[in-house]
């Protein structure tokens, strides 16, 4: 069964360092997303990506964050200068159609990358 894969599973970094989280979405999906979940809190939307550009982003997704699809398979999230409050589980997701499109808009999530900022 096709699945979304994420690397690394866990990354520990010092505050102020750059971090890149990587994702390989399901191969025939066109829409890509990053969500995060701070420990014990809700799953929060960060950004959606389609046709090589950002479709929508949340208030959380400020200038410290960027996304890229450098080739035909990878989808990355970069945090330029990490802060303590960036510590969270980051989930990549993909879908065959845009979220909100009836019947096919469900998201397929990866297992997450846990980021710990010290």
């Amino acid at each position: 069964e096709p699945e979304v894969t994420q690397t690394p599973s866990h990354q520990v970094t010092q505050m102020g360092q750059e971090v890149i989280l990587r994702c390989v979405p399901i191969s025939n999906h066109l829409y890509f997303y990053w969500y995060r979940q701070i420990l014990g809190q809700k799953v929060e939307f960060l950004v959606s990506f389609y046709n090589n550009e950002i479709s929508e982003k949340s208030e959380i997704f400020d200038d410290q964050f960027s996304v890229e699809r450098p080739d035909g398979s990878n989808f990355t999230l970069k945090i330029r200068s990490t802060k303590l409050e960036d510590s969270a589980m980051y989930f990549c997701a993909s879908s065959g159609s845009l979220a909100g499109a009836s019947d096919t808009g469900e998201l397929f999530f990866g297992e997450g990358s846990r980021l710990t900022v010290l």
Partner: protein, 112 residues
Amino acid sequence: DQQVKQNSPSLSVQEGRISILNCDYTNSMFDYFLWYKKYPAEGPTFLISISSIKDKNEDGRFTVFLNKSAKHLSLHIVPSQPGDSAVYFCAASEFNAGKSTFGDGTTLTVKP
């Protein structure tokens, strides 16, 4: 402004009984509603969905009910099984929006 709310952080039921998980929303533009299940150390997995033109959708042991006038949806699991023990997230999207908004989640424990 929390647009999707799951007011019960936890629910415990006996195996074989019905589990009812509730979700309320405030955004009348939401058009599509989904339930996801999440086990520890895994990503959320899609469970069942319903569009705003329907009031019920059933898939095996899982049924989702939508009450648009009350801005309320619920997930019924019958019969509940120990393997259903997980965190359940309600999510909602506007039509062809670029994102889904998630609730806080409800931890379901099904006791043998």
